[in-house]
Structures are given as C-alpha cells and as structure tokens.
Amino acid sequence: MSVKLGVPSKGRLMEQTFDWFAAHGVRLHRTGSEREYSGAVEGADGVELVLLSAGEIPRELAAGRIHLGVTGSDLVREKLADWETQVADLAPMGFGHADLIIAVPACWSDVDMLEDLDAVAHAFRREHGFRLRIATKYHRLVREFLTRQGVADYQLVDSQGATEGTVKNLTAEAIADITSSGETLRANHLKILSDGVIHQSQATLFAARGADWTGGSGAALAALCTQCGIALPKF
C-alpha cells in the first residue's frame, strides 16, 4: 500500500509545497488538464499525491484517509481536538507564515494588552448589556487562549471572511484573525494587542497517527523521511 500525501490543490501553498519537496529530490506535479485534481510523484517510491483543499487536510489526516498532509499549523490546532494525539508534526516547511492575533480598534488608545481588553469587556458589558463581541473563525484557538489568559465577559461571533470589516460594521468590537503583514488590519483602522499573538502558523508536514502504516507504507514513509532529512515519527 502506498503512502497518500495530501497537498493543497491550488495557489501559492501548492506551488511552495512542490518547491519544498523538489528541493529534497521529490518531484510532485499535477497531471491531466489544468482543472483536473490529480497528480504524480517522481523520485520517491510508494508515495501517491492527493490534491485537496488545505482546510480539509486536517480532517482527512484525523480520519486516516491520507497518511501525510501539508497544511497550516493553525488549521490543525483549530480543527482537531487534542491534535497531538491524532497527528504527528513532522517538519515546519518555512512558508505560509501567518499569525493568529487579536486586534482592536486603533482609536482605543487605552487598550494595548489583554489586561486592557478584559477590563474594557467588563465595562462594555455593563454599559451595553451584552458581552463584548470578538469576530473570528478560529473559535477553539481563540477561546482556549482567552481562557488561559483569564479574559472574561466576551463572546465569539462567527466570521468566515472580511473579518477586519466587522468592527466598522458594528457586528463586533474586536477581531481574532490571521495576518501576515498587518496591512489589512491597518487599512481597517485596527491594531494588534501587544500580547495578543495566539499562534504563529506556517505550512507544516503532518503524519496521521491513525492511518494504516502496514503493508509497505511504513517503509515508504521511512525512505521519504530519510530523503527529506526529517526524523521518523513515533506512532
């Protein structure tokens, strides 16, 4: 049985993944027409390329339907409960960098830290009768972070896109979102809390603990790890 390697199916994440493997002598490429999601692997025996949406790769890893997968470390932490029991972190890949951060209106000159956000949330709730709203799609990561930090009187509101606009549109008071340069935040008059970095994400190669590693796939993994210069995971 071959090792199924799940790779993002389009865009820069796919290209950079291909480049990363190429640097280690493994050539991944798409086959068929431009629109067909099928691929081929040269330079590594027993490895099969599966092109998937980056957001679905954590779930496919958890289900063991793919053996290896490339996706953002933020997505694995957000989508998988107890992620370390489900997947092994094989190698950070040095691209796709993005920070999950908490940002508030830049005009709030009294707010710079989580301590301030917590105090403002308390006052806001008393003044407005509901909890301060933080717009995000990263519910698990944000909630765990704020619980750990002892922030209260907030609520998360779901925002699957254009999250930076929610404050101006009065559907949230703060946001938690990924940013790489911070430019969209600045354009929307938001600023990052100085201790508000929840997770520094990058594209990462993960292995599924629950995949079938018998019948040759274990040996194919060992060969691939050697070729790519990464330690063989312990399952």
Partner: protein
C-alpha cells in the same frame, strides 16, 4: 464503565433517598434555551455544551447541568422553603479523549431553597450526600468562596480595584496578576505609562460601538488607580496565605483567624457554625479536608460553601460536587433572590465504584 441501566438504577436509588429527605422531584427539559446559559457562563459553556438550533425557538442547548433550569423553575413560582431532586442525563462536549471523559452521563441532584438557616442547609445537603456515598470510602473536600469574597471586600483600597479582583476570583491567574499590579510588585507596562502621561492619543478614526466617552471614563479610572496608594506587600502575602490554606477541617477556623485578615471574621463565624452543623449531623470532621481555593476553577456560580467527594483514582472526575449559589438566584430571579444550596452525584461513577471498590 457502568452500563446505562446500572447508572439509571443507582440514580433511582439516590433519587428515592432525596425524596425521603423531603424533596419533590422535578424533570427539566433536555433541550434548554441557550440564551440564559450563555449570558451566565459566556464562551466557556459554548465549548462545553452541545449547541443546536430550532427554527422557531432559536439556539438551544442539550442540558449541560440541572441547576439553571431548577432555579428558573423555582423563581417562577416555587413555594418557600423548597427542596427539589432530579435524575437525568447531562451532555458535555469533551475536547480531550479518555474513558473518564463521557459526553453524556447521569446526574442525581438535590437542591435546597431556604432563607432561614443557611449553614444548616449547607450541612443538610452535605450530610445527605455523605450518607449515600459512605460505603465508597471517598475523600471529601470543603471550601468557602465567601471567605475569598470577604477578604477582597475588606481590602483598604479603591472600589474599582476590589470589584476587579472580585470578578476574577474564579480566574486565579488574572486575579493574582491584578493583585501584584495593585501592590506595585510588577512594573507598570510602558503602554500604560504612555497613556497615563497623556501621550497615547491616536489619530485613527473612531470606529465601533464602544463610544469615546467610555474610553475617557476608563482613562479617568486608570489615573485614579495610578494615584492611589499601592496595596501593602504584607496584605498580598496574607492573601497568598489565605488562597493556599489547606488543612484538616477542624483546624480551619483557627488557621483562618491566624492569617490576621480582620474582614474574615463574619465568614469564619459562618464556617464554624457550618462545621458544628455538620458534626451535629454525624459527620466526622477529622476526615474532611478544607481547601480555601476549592471551587475557584470550576464554573463561577458557587459563591459560598463548596464541596467535592472524590475517589482515590486521580484520573476519575469527582463523584459528587455541590455548593451554595445565592447570587445565581438573584441573576435568574429578575429582581428576586433566595439563598440556595445543592449538589449532584454521578450515579454512573457510584455504580463503577460499587462494583470495583
């Protein structure tokens, strides 16, 4: 793990004992409106409860506990005093896997709403549970959140500092960070210094629902705070000693008096009355542990007496928990309130322990 039938049978036995103690059985819905629970607990409950949706009723939750619906039922027309008992499943999402992490399990509970003698009611609930659990050889721990709130209320400092501390009693990390800050034991962050010096003005356009007045109000508060005397370091040390106090229950009143926090006197007197009431009901106080921080990391509705019965296996969740929640009745009572105390036993765990002692 006990079978569902075994858990239900054990639960029925507990329910019968609660009825015999004078409680009337109630049977709250499994589907609860999410709003009251979310208002109370915030995001924590969203992570713990199963949230679902009904086209006409909106967001609903699979009953994560019984206390809130029982209090709601009582506050909308229960006679006084009242005793209630119940048996049924509660549902909790589990972010971590493991055999002790059931997403669905039975609770058998007993709740007392009585204005007359709170310490008597505390002892009544505890002794009733202790009698049911006696054969299991569990370890019982008691505490009293009222001691912590009394210590905070008695601080000689700004009211805003006291209310910030009181709000975070259930979040120990934030609480102790605030305490250190108020005592001047941690440096004022540079951003706060800039703000206090009036040099933090932003030229960004004002956006969002929070109004400029709300910010100015907070800056005024922060300036008052900066001008106020720091909490004496000795006061912080007394707090640390209070929060870390653990001892055998009979020693607790004297050990608490020894801390030298005068504001604790009424709360210590209540604790002493409670211990006497427990003894009068046949509880051997020497077997009880007292932990001043007990209940601080649980859900934040307990505001007085708290207790837990635990098995020796640290991997198991508590077999029974309970406590006093006077403030919860005020929040849910829309202007009315009544002192209340109660607790729950997990019949599934009881059945397990009975099989394999």
């Amino acid at each position: 793990m006990a079978t569902k039938a075994a858990a239900r049978a054990t639960g029925a036995r507990l329910l019968e004992a609660f009825r015999a103690a004078g409680a009337s059985a109630v049977d709250p819905d499994i589907l609860q409106p999410a709003k009251a629970l979310l208002d109370l607990y915030g995001e924590d409950i969203r992570a713990r409860a199963f949230v679902t949706h009904d086209p006409s009723r909106g967001e609903m939750m699979l009953r994560p506990d019984f206390t809130v619906p029982v209090v709601q039922e009582h506050m909308t027309g229960g006679a006084e005093p009242a005793r209630y008992c119940y048996l049924g499943e509660v549902f909790r999402q589990q972010d971590h896997s493991g055999p002790a992490r059931a997403a669905e399990y039975f609770q058998a509970g007993y709740e007392v709403f009585d204005r007359t003698a709170p310490e008597e009611a505390d002892a009544e609930v505890f002794a009733l549970f202790a009698a049911q659990l006696a054969p299991l050889g569990l370890e019982a721990t008691i505490g009293d959140i009222g001691l912590l709130t009394a210590a905070v209320a008695g601080l000689d400092t700004l009211a805003v500092r006291k209310s910030a501390l009181a709000r975070h009693i259930w979040r120990p990390r934030r609480f102790h960070a605030l305490l250190q800050r108020y005592a001047g034991l941690t440096p004022v962050p540079p951003s706060r210094q800039t703000l206090l010096a009036g040099e933090a003005e932003s030229d960004a356009p004002w956006i969002g629902l929070r109004a400029p007045d709300e910010m100015h109000e907070r800056v005024t508060r922060l300036q008052e705070d900066a001008a106020a005397a720091p909490l004496p370091a000795a006061e912080v040390a007394r707090f640390d000693a209070l929060f870390s106090l653990r001892c055998a229950a009979p020693e607790a009143p004297q050990r608490l008096e020894g801390l030298g926090i005068s504001a604790l006197a009424p709360a210590i007197a209540r604790l002493a009355r409670r211990l006497s009431a427990l003894e009068a009901r046949g509880i051997d106080l020497a077997t009880l542990r007292f932990d001043a921080s007990h209940g601080r990391t649980t859900m934040e509705y307990y505001d007085g007496f708290v207790f837990t019965f635990s098995a020796a296996d640290p991997g198991l969740p508590p077999v029974a928990t309970g406590g006093r929640y006077d403030a919860l009745t005020r929040v849910l009572g829309q202007g009315r309130s009544i002192p209340a105390v109660g607790g729950v036993i997990r019949p599934g765990l009881v059945a397990d322990l009975e099989v394999a002692p």
